[in-house]
């Protein structure tokens, strides 16, 4: 499942660590393999990465399930990564998640029928000053309200 191109990319990361410590490249390797597989990691993909780095599958799975930037289910073209950590939660993030779910007609973790969007609850993104907030692609959107969400989300293609 890991393409030769991906293997080459992983190898450059392995080079950066001392010999025998190739498993240190696991985060980058997972990222590379995820990018190749429609932005999500299946259990088999995790096992293959682990195998390639000569580490146990569960150790790779620990990493892959710890960080929010790895997906374990199919995702849409855009992922709305909404923070539900303390500051955002106190500022009404939960209500906004509910609003988003209602608006898009899918639960968090599900993809809209047209394959365009999915909502993912993530941990603190370090933008508490503008809570509540979410991230789409590389952009942070802060001080969200229902109206603001409508404006942002409706423009996504």
């Amino acid at each position: 499942m890991i393409s030769n191109k991906a293997k080459k990319q992983i190898d450059t990361w392995i080079q950066k660590y001392p010999k025998g410590r190739q498993s240190s490249a696991v985060m980058e390797a997972l990222k590379i393999v995820q990018a190749e597989n429609e932005n999500s990691l299946s259990a088999e993909a995790i096992a293959e990465v682990a195998d390639y780095l000569d580490m146990s599958s569960i150790a790779a799975a620990e990493v892959a399930t710890f960080y929010e930037n790895y997906n374990h289910k199919p995702v849409g073209k855009h992922t709305i990564r909404i923070c539900h950590n303390i500051s955002c939660m106190l500022n009404g993030a939960d209500d906004l998640v509910f609003y988003l779910e209602k608006k898009l007609g899918v639960k968090t973790g599900q993809v809209t029928k047209n394959g365009l969007l999915n909502v993912k609850k993530v941990e603190c993104l370090g933008a508490c000053v503008g809570a509540p907030m979410f991230q789409i692609g590389d952009t942070y959107y802060e001080n969200l309200t229902e109206k603001k969400i409508d404006d942002i989300v409706d423009k996504l293609k």
């Binding site: 799975a61 620990e62 710890f66």
Partner: protein, 750 residues
């Protein structure tokens, strides 16, 4: 070792600088609560239960990861320490279910104990508790993951001791779960230790589930007899039945671990197949009789068929290698009293004129200090788990491990080189190694090595052996039926001598060291196991022999025993169809943990044990049966009141050091060789009857492995059968070798 002084709770304590605080308090008997700390595992410091107050530190410190310093003042019981411990306890109990009444860990639960001392009596937590789905991780361990407190002892056990990380923590924060990858389950041969290290009821013994509370049982210190280590255990019994086995600490033997085979084999004791009543065969029909009748019948048979007709020479005795030291001794004493030297325990060896004669010269604790090891013909991990564990420690500390095997096995440490050669080539490669060593030390090259050409592999191994200061050469079970077994052993002794290496002979397992100690092998004029079967003896005494599993060539053995002129007295702990076919008397004997006796481990250390329970129904300890048989045969010197009296009479009578002058034969053998190995969980009758062990992956090793070329040569196809087991084609096996994992013997093929 006392370097520095520190003060704990106002008392001055001597300790070594750099030691962790918890190690000092443990040694001094000061109680500090803990969950994640385990003396044999790495420090995680993630449960925070062991917080103590260290003067000068602003916050309480975890005792498990705080190294001590000169003049340190520690309070384990003051307000600050107690308050932090109580707070941590409260957090740990937030998600822990209050299901102690239905939890198997209840009564031996660290969380329960610590909560009694440090917990609050009323919970302030009114929110919902989290629930975690269980994973089915195999036949041995039951999981209740809602009870897990994330101490990660099982995770660390897997990666540090078991050598394969099988459990891990996935997810994060509130979603953190301890689980195996997908549904792979746990396959380690040491997995049962996870039950011991789990401080709560998350991992419990599956066969023991809902059986009993720990305080209802009686714990008896005992010795496991399934391998060459003799792991120290507690057999826990209830109303005369062994209900569970747990590890007993002994740093010079098994540390705090035991193998799954030692832990779960007890299940076989309660199997319905136990032989419970003495039986005699009258006119081809089995009849249950009283002990005195059966013994009388046995003695009359022995006298009529052997002693009166041909003297002692007509009588033979064979045993399995699981008998106790005392049983081996009594049986050989009895045979030698009546003038027979037909004594043997080596039932699985094809050619008893070509046997491995190699001393073990290293102690178990020394094994973890070696800097190099050469393993020949062994799947050490599954066959001798505790020995492998010691060697793994050495490997982790940097020892380089070279392997010469007929098949590539999963080692749980890195090997320096793994050389897969067919059994016929083993002797040749060792000859090359020896020659290379002799050449480099400018020693005289003996004649038989004259023509040997040294290959690269041998040169590398010779290099390693010469360069290391502390090397051990390990010879395993796969070599016993090698056509040049004797030469292999001799070459190894020679190599060891030349390089100052130690040797470890793990080619015969269980209690075979005891058999050697009392010289349970034929003496002058005696017949060995194979010769006896070929010689048409008048009578046999067989001790816990199960022909289709124990004999190398079971078909021939059964045929030879099943002769109407041969009188067979079988002493067995389990019923067996074949035994019933050829025997004339079947005497029920006690199995493991039902008799007192002794085990001799690979170091030659004798470990004696008492019976944990009495033998079921009418079965009796074999030593008692042998004693009475000897009395009835009117032999003198068999009056023992207990098995210790027998032990006292035993001295080391091993004749192993006898020199045999046969020359070393180093010609490589051509053609296909077959290696027959029983599943590691089928090496003795008790393990074979332990249901849970048999249900594991290791218990279900039934296959014939060979590479493509060999299969083609032999006309065997993938998916077919070879000697009754399914064929798997794999390039892991050496060319010209078929590796058969079958519990029943494969006949004369190997």
């Amino acid at each position: 070792m006392a370097d520095i002084e520190i003060e704990i709770d106002g008392n001055v304590v001597k300790a070594k600088a750099g030691e962790m605080l918890i190690a000092v308090t443990d040694r001094e008997g000061i109680s500090v609560p803990r969950f994640c700390y385990h003396k044999k595992l790495s420090i995680a410091a993630n449960c925070r239960m062991c917080l103590v107050d260290v003067e000068g530190a602003p916050k309480p410190q975890p005792a498990c990861s705080t190294p001590i310093n000169e003049g340190m003042k520690v309070h384990t019981q003051n307000e600050k320490a107690k308050a932090s411990q109580k707070a941590v306890m409260e957090f740990l109990l937030i998600n822990h279910p209050l299901d102690c009444p239905i939890c198997d860990q209840g009564g031996e639960c660290e969380l329960q104990d610590v909560a009694m001392s440090y917990g609050s009596d009323v919970s302030r937590f009114t929110e919902g508790k989290r629930i975690v789905a269980n994973s089915d991780i195999g036949a041995l361990i039951h999981t209740d993951m809602t009870r897990c407190i994330h101490c990660t002892r099982c995770v660390r056990f897997g990666s540090e001791i078991g050598g394969i990380m099988e459990m891990g923590g996935t997810g994060r924060g509130e979603d953190l779960k301890i689980e195996p990858f997908l549904k792979e389950g746990i396959t380690s041969e040491l997995s049962g230790n996870m039950i011991d290290v789990c401080p709560v009821g998350a991992l419990t013994s599956k066969p023991f589930r809902y059986e009993l509370r720990t305080w209802q049982m009686h714990s008896v210190a005992n010795i496991a007899r399934h391998d060459l280590v003799g792991s120290n255990i507690f057999t826990q019994t209830y109303k005369g039945k062994v209900k569970r086995i747990v590890a007993r600490d002994n740093d010079s033997v098994n540390e705090t671990w035991i193998s799954d085979r030692d832990r779960f084999s007890y299940e076989g004791l309660a199997h319905e197949n136990r032989l419970l009543k003495p039986q005699i065969k009258m006119d081809g029909q089995w009849k249950e009789v009283e002990w005195d009748k059966a013994l009388e019948f046995a003695v009359r048979g022995l006298v009529d068929n052997a002693l009166n007709t041909g003297g002692g020479n007509k009588l033979g005795a064979l045993t399995s290698n699981t008998a106790t030291l005392e049983e081996f001794h009594l049986l050989q004493k009895m045979l030698r009293e009546v003038g027979s030297e037909n004594i043997d325990y080596r039932l699985n060896v094809k050619d008893l004129d070509n046997v491995i004669n190699l001393e073990s010269t290293i102690k178990l604790v020394e094994l973890e200090k070696v800097d190099h090891s050469l393993i020949i013909g062994a799947n050490l991990r599954l066959e001798q788990p505790m020995i492998n564990h010691r060697l793994r420690k050495a490997a982790l500390a940097g020892a380089s491990i070279d392997v010469i095997n007929a098949m590539s096995f999963d080692f749980n440490y890195r090997t320096n080189s793994e050389n897969i050669v067919s059994p016929g080539q083993t002797v040749a490669i060792l000859a090359e190694v020896l020659k290379s060593i002799l050449e480099r030390s400018c020693a005289e090259i003996p004649k038989y090595l004259g023509k040997v050409k040294i290959g690269d592999v041998a040169k590398c191994i010779a290099d390693e052996l010469l360069e290391s200061n502390n090397s051990v050469i390990i010879l395993g079970e796969h070599a016993i039926n090698n056509p040049q077994a004797a030469s292999i052993a001799k070459l190894i002794s020679e190599i060891a001598q030349q390089t100052g290496s130690t040797t470890l002979n793990v080619s015969a397992t269980s209690n075979s060291m005891a058999a050697e100690m009392v010289n349970f092998v034929p003496g002058q004029g005696g017949l060995n196991a194979n010769a006896m079967l070929a010689a048409d003896l008048g009578a046999y005494i067989l001790l816990d022999v199960y022909p289709q599993y124990d004999f190398h060539n079971s078909v021939q053995a059964i045929k030879s025993l099943d002769n109407k002129n041969t009188f067979v007295v079988s002493m067995n702990s389990f019923r067996d169809k074949e035994v019933a076919r050829y025997s004339d008397v079947m005497l029920p004997i006690a199995s493991f943990y039902e008799t007192s006796g002794s085990h001799i481990n690979i170091e030659g250390v004798m470990q004696s044990f008492a019976a944990a329970v009495s033998a079921p129904s009418e079965s009796k300890s074999a030593w008692k049966v042998l004693k009475v048989l000897a009395d009835l045969l009117e032999l003198s010197g068999f009056h023992y009141a207990n098995s210790e009296q027998i032990t006292g009479e035993i001295s080391n009578q091993s004749h192993k050091q006898k020199i045999d002058n046969k020359e070393i034969n180093i010609t490589a053998k051509r053609g296909v060789s077959v290696i027959w190995q029983k599943s590691p969980y089928a090496i003795d009758v008790l393990s074979r009857h332990a249901t849970a062990l048999q249900a594991t992956k290791i218990g279900q090793m039934h296959n014939a492995l060979m590479n493509k070329a060999t299969a083609k040569k032999e006309g065997i196809k993938e998916g077919g059968q070879y000697l009754g087991v399914p064929v798997i084609i794999t390039e892991k096996v050496a060319n010209n070798c078929i590796f058969v994992h079958a519990n029943q013997s494969t006949g004369d093929k190997s």
